[in-house]
C-alpha cells in the first residue's frame, strides 16, 4: 500500500519533484518576504539613527 503510494503508479519521478518544487517555491516566498521586511526595518532604523546623530 505504502509502496504503491510512493510509486504513484509509475509516475513518481514526475509527481514528487512537482510537489517538492512547489514546497520549495512556497518556502522561498516566505523566506524572501521576511528577509525583505527585515532589511527594510534595518534601513529605517539606520535612517532614524543617522537623523538623530545629525540632530545632536
Amino acid at each position: 500500500m505504502t509502496g504503491a503510494f510512493w510509486s504513484m503508479g509509475g509516475y513518481a519521478r514526475y509527481v514528487w519533484p512537482c510537489f517538492g518544487f512547489a514546497g520549495a517555491v512556497l518556502c522561498w516566498n516566505l523566506w524572501s518576504a521576511r528577509a525583505h521586511l527585515a532589511a527594510a526595518r534595518i534601513r529605517a532604523v539606520r535612517a532614524m539613527s543617522m537623523e538623530a546623530g545629525e540632530n545632536v
Binding site: F19, A33, A44, V45, M48
Partner: protein, 244 residues
C-alpha cells in the same frame, strides 16, 4: 467609496492592515494547502487516462492561475499608481512582481514535468507554454526596470507602463487553448463548470487554489510592509512602526 479608496493611499493604514491580515492569511492558507495536498495525493482516485500523473494538477493549476492573477494585480496596482498618483499602488505592484514570477516559474516547471509522460516531451513551442514563458519574461522585465532608474518615481512609472502593456498577454494565455491548436488541455475551470471532475478530485483542487491565493495574500502583505518602510523611512509614523 472614495473615502475608503483614499484611505488605501495612506501608508500607515496600509502597513497596519497588512500586519493584521498576515497571520490570518497564513493560518487559512496552511489549512487549505494541507487538506488539498493530503486529499489530492491520498484520497483522490487516479485519472482513468493519466493515472496518478494527473495529481500534478494540484500544484500546476493553482500556480498557473496565480501567475495570471498576480500579473493582473500588478498591472491594476501600477495603473492606480500611474493614474491617481497613489504611491501605495506602486508599492503593491513592486511587492507582487517577485511572487508572481516565482509562481510562473512553478507553473512552467510542473507543466514541463507533466508534459513529459503525457506528451512525450518536456517542452513544446505550444501557444499556452510559449505565452506563459513570455509572462515570466514580462515579470523579469518589470522587476529589472524598476531599479534601473536613479529616481525611484521614474522607475515606478516605467514598471507600471510595462506591466500595463504586458497585461494583453493575460487573455492570450487564458484563451490560447481555444484560439489555436494546442497540446495543452482546455481550461480546468470550464471543465469544472461542466462537472467533468468528480467531487473527490475537484475539492482538493479548489482547496489548493484557495490555499495558494491565501498564501499569496500573506506573502504580499509582508512584502508590502517592506515596500512601505523602504518608501516612507523618513516619515515620523515609521519610528513607532519599527519600534513595535
Amino acid at each position: 467609496m472614495w473615502t475608503w479608496f483614499y484611505k488605501l493611499a495612506s501608508p500607515p493604514y496600509v502597513y497596519g492592515v497588512a500586519a493584521a491580515l498576515t497571520p490570518w492569511f497564513f493560518a487559512l492558507a496552511g489549512l487549505a494547502i494541507a487538506y488539498g495536498t493530503v486529499a489530492g495525493l491520498v484520497f483522490a482516485p487516479p485519472d482513468y487516462q493519466q493515472g496518478d500523473a494527473f495529481r500534478i494538477i494540484y500544484v500546476h493549476a493553482p500556480a498557473a492561475w496565480l501567475s495570471l492573477f498576480a500579473y493582473t494585480t500588478m498591472a491594476v496596482a501600477g495603473g492606480i499608481g500611474l493614474i491617481w498618483r497613489i504611491k501605495m499602488g506602486h508599492a503593491v505592484a513592486a511587492a507582487t512582481a517577485p511572487i508572481g514570477a516565482s509562481f510562473t516559474l512553478l507553473a512552467l516547471v510542473t507543466g514541463s514535468l507533466w508534459g513529459r509522460p503525457m506528451w512525450g516531451t518536456y517542452w513544446a513551442w505550444d501557444p499556452r507554454l510559449t505565452s506563459e514563458l513570455i509572462l515570466l519574461f514580462l515579470y523579469v522585465g518589470v522587476m529589472s526596470l524598476r531599479p534601473a532608474f536613479e529616481e525611484p518615481a521614474r522607475g515606478d512609472r516605467a514598471a507600471a507602463l510595462l506591466s500595463i502593456v504586458g497585461v494583453v498577454n493575460v487573455p492570450i494565455i487564458h484563451f490560447s487553448v481555444v484560439w489555436w491548436n494546442s497540446l495543452h488541455q482546455g481550461a480546468t475551470v470550464a471543465k469544472i463548470g461542466k462537472s467533468d471532475m468528480p467531487a473527490s478530485m475537484l475539492m482538493p483542487l479548489l482547496s489548493m487554489l484557495l490555499g495558494f491565493m491565501l498564501f499569496y495574500g500573506a506573502v504580499l502583505c509582508i512584502r508590502v510592509r517592506g515596500e512601505v518602510l523602504n518608501r516612507e523611512r523618513q516619515a515620523t509614523w515609521v519610528r513607532e512602526a519599527v519600534k513595535s
